[in-house]
Symmetry: C2
Subunit: 507 residues, 2 copies
């Protein structure tokens, strides 16, 4: 039927129909219609929202993203029809019924995901069904290739291109700020796309943004990497494997990270940037995504098999994940810590060792160092100051201030110190609770918000000594974080008396 | 944070935040915030939509349904916070992981469904997980009781209260228009809540609406049923088991009807109207929801077990579902057919027999007829004209015209006749295709739209004899239905020559 267009400046996909018109067309809330602009012959499929009063009968509200694809002027006439049923819905149903999806079927689902033809309900059903039934390696390969094909791809003139990825689950994991410049300083090219925190206190992209802009097109990533050897950008801005962001939004409420989806998500990005080899960091331990070394080994072999199918040489590092990397959580605090190591600080050991280990593996894989010599080579690059120099080049090419120094990066002005309630040892440090407290303090949005842990697991402490400090940019945020800390008790101190476990003291 | 309210007249739940404010609060599209009206101390949980231009920073758009619960005036100040995580999300995750849900957990999910605290993504995950893992009988009982508890309940002063339900899947199933008046005429009380077509060509509520209004509160259903013994209303208007409509919206794209959800959906409505006994019609055969008699028996035993747990005496009728009931599909055509039987017509046999069988079972269950005598008693009520008289009372009390006669109910003025392409037998009649054609012709919205089948499966036809007629109220609808009919070829005629199967001829 023909309806008069009201352009609605809401940054979403979709159209708004009067309930009577929807009924006439034969669609319900959440159904799709095809909307045709007869003036331009452009048409688009859009999810229907229904109103009984915001519009009069005979008109259609077209949301911004949808109108971006069909280009109506206010008051134009739209031809609106019930759409054909999407084949991808039948494929999702197949997966719900436990059947195997072919390459073509997976591609159809991913295409309709990227085009936003699938509704949130349909996406959720696909993600849930994939989570419950799992994806076999053929399906994971189809999914990965489909995610690559439906986004931008970078083709570098020279090779090898190397990459690094951490599957996450451990807080304070700022190692990319060290690994990328070490690798790039060795002469290898590493175009690192990274994520912003969704449930964490700061993703690599949030951290890098303290130093320089991180939103670039894939063409800019290519140019910058060719020029200085490395870049650290936010993947969400690049249109590389754009399906991934939509899948993540659906997984987000349930904090699920189904193995098949994770494998595809990581490897699609490596494949799309043209990586020849990649090292995958798999943090292992309670509170991470991988509870045991056995599970970590299984996951590693899946990453390696998928890499082989995609012609990417993959090696994995199982790393200790039960305690944070370094001592800081939150953008500015983490960047301060990483910068000070690049500037020559000899601590924290966990951060330095992990960064050098992963860098070493890459250097060996790429043939820059002999097997067994990668760690030492990475250490040489770090201690010589070449890694710092390289990071400054990356900061500069991304548009930041290359002469930044660690003292320039300040914590939030409000802070609260938590002291040990008794003499003893720190026996527990809950990753998830620490992240929750850092987020309550304002991280990652408030860059100065976060936590410094003074006494990590196993440390001997005296009564009254500081265990952790919470920082915030706004005092009400600090108060809230302290309140939540009181409930969560993220640190446990045990005295000499066996069995006497005491939470830290919150004043 | 405090934001200035812009009341948005979109008939939906939710709020619209500027992207910067969303980031500050720490929420993403699809997250929830708690919105507090400090003037009234009312607060509500709402799903977040994000805009970067439709609102300025510092303001919040509040959609109609959400504002209905919190009562802002334009320009008021709202306190907006990230909400606590809903416990029901953790319970949904449990179900995704294949675990069993307790009564309390199921109730939390259903409560948050009814309050619209759960997003479509979360609802979809619950429905998908329940579909894949299934619900055991304890969970089905919890779900049913939760659906009853979260809606209106009718308590009648006198008993027994009886009910009837068809699980659907066969087109043209207008039997409630006969069963309800037959039962009510026997002196029993039958408050029949029914559905509108979602994927069909006309639900019982769509049919009844040809004769009288169908939207009533549960209190009105009680009053009407007490007065005349029966009513036929749209369940969606009553607030009886309101969770069901939300679950159905999520199942709709996938056309799934998971057994556990279906059992709960049907029996929650029976329980909420206070039914003491109910007969369930289970159509069996290709093209219905239940393919074999064995499956039908299993489903019947589940209905009976659930009934026992809810203290409702349930019996089931497995009925022939491979061919439509009667000859008509579409509101007016079906109502015409049902009315003419009440007025004394002796055909169609399939409609009369099915209606009398189901009525007979109810009469026997309620002790109105001796075992084996129910059918005859029902037949007596029908042929005596008492059932017609009772339907007229029901029409009158619901606000329709009680003196309506079948010739008053007219088919759409446009029609197209499909003739037999050769001498032979009708060997195939595809239920789903017939429904698709009837919907294309405009049913159920255009009440005169639909199909009359002149030759059902097994009928001998001569070349050129009419096989079916398609009716529509609008000529373009008729054209579309004919076009779709050409593609779907819903009727097959086989000649004497074995193996020669010919689709009917579409001019």
């Amino acid at each position: 039927m023909k309806l008069t267009v009201k352009v609605m400046d809401i940054a979403a996909q979709g159209v708004l129909l009067h309930i009577t018109d929807a009924w006439t067309i034969g669609v319900l809330e959440g159904d799709r219609v095809r909307v045709l602009n007869e003036a331009t012959s452009e048409s688009v499929s859009a999810i229907v929202n229904i109103t009984s009063s915001f519009l009069t009968q005979g008109s259609i509200g077209v949301y911004q993203k949808t109108n971006g694809r069909v280009g109506f002027k206010e008051g134009a006439i739209a031809e609106v029809r019930e759409t054909e049923r999407l084949a991808s819905i039948d494929y999702i149903k197949k997966k719900m019924d436990g059947q195997h999806l072919s390459k073509e079927e997976m591609l159809a689902i991913v295409k309709d995901t990227v085009a936003e033809n699938l509704s949130p309900v349909e996406m959720a059903a696909f993600v849930t069904a994939s989570y419950i039934h799992g994806l076999d390696m053929d399906e994971v390969e189809h999914l990965t290739r489909s995610m690559v094909e439906t986004g931008d791809r970078i083709q570098f003139a020279t090779h090898p291109i190397v990459d690094k990825h951490s599957i996450g689950g451990v807080p304070g994991n700022k190692i990319s700020l060290l690994v990328v410049p070490i690798i790039a300083a060795s002469g290898l090219k590493i175009p690192k796309t990274s994520s912003r925190a969704i449930t964490g206190a700061g993703g690599t992209a949030d951290l890098m943004e303290v130093l320089a802009p991180v939103e670039f097109s894939s063409a800019e990533v290519k140019r910058m990497t060719e020029k200085v050897g490395g870049s650290i950008v936010w993947g969400g801005a690049t249109n590389i494997a754009p399906a991934d962001d939509r899948f993540i939004m659906v997984e987000y409420p349930f904090r699920i990270d189904a193995t098949g989806q994770m494998l595809a998500s990581v490897m699609a990005k490596k494949s799309a940037v043209g990586a020849d080899l990649a090292v995958i960091d798999i943090p292992v331990g309670n509170g991470t995504k991988v509870a045991t070394v056995q599970e970590g080994r299984r996951l590693a072999s899946q990453f390696m098999e998928l890499g082989e199918r995609l012609n990417i040489h993959v090696e994995c590092a199982l790393t200790y994940g039960e305690s944070l990397v370094g001592h800081s959580i939150g953008p500015n605090l983490e960047v301060y810590e990483a910068l000070s190591v690049l500037e020559g600080a000899r601590a924290p050991g966990s951060l330095i060792q992990k960064s050098l280990s992963l860098s070493g593996i890459v250097l060996e894989m790429a043939g820059k160092a002999a097997r067994g010599q990668g760690y030492a080579m990475a250490e040489g690059i770090l201690t010589s100051g070449k890694a710092l120099e390289k990071l400054r080049q990356i900061i500069e090419i991304q548009g930041g201030k290359p002469d930044v120094r660690s003292p320039d990066i300040l914590p939030g002005e409000h802070h609260f110190v938590v002291n040990a309630p008794l003499d003893g040892y720190v026996v527990g440090l809950n990753n998830r609770s620490l992240i929750t407290i850092a987020r309550a303090a304002g991280a990652p949005h408030d860059r100065g918000a976060g936590i410094i842990i003074h006494a990590k697991k196993g440390t001997k402490v005296k009564q009254g000594e500081p265990i952790m400090t919470i920082y915030a940019e706004r005092s009400w945020r600090l108060q809230k974080a302290v309140e939540i800390g009181r409930q969560l008790m993220p640190v446990l101190v045990e005295g000499m008396l066996l069995g006497h476990i005491s939470p830290v003291h919150w004043v």
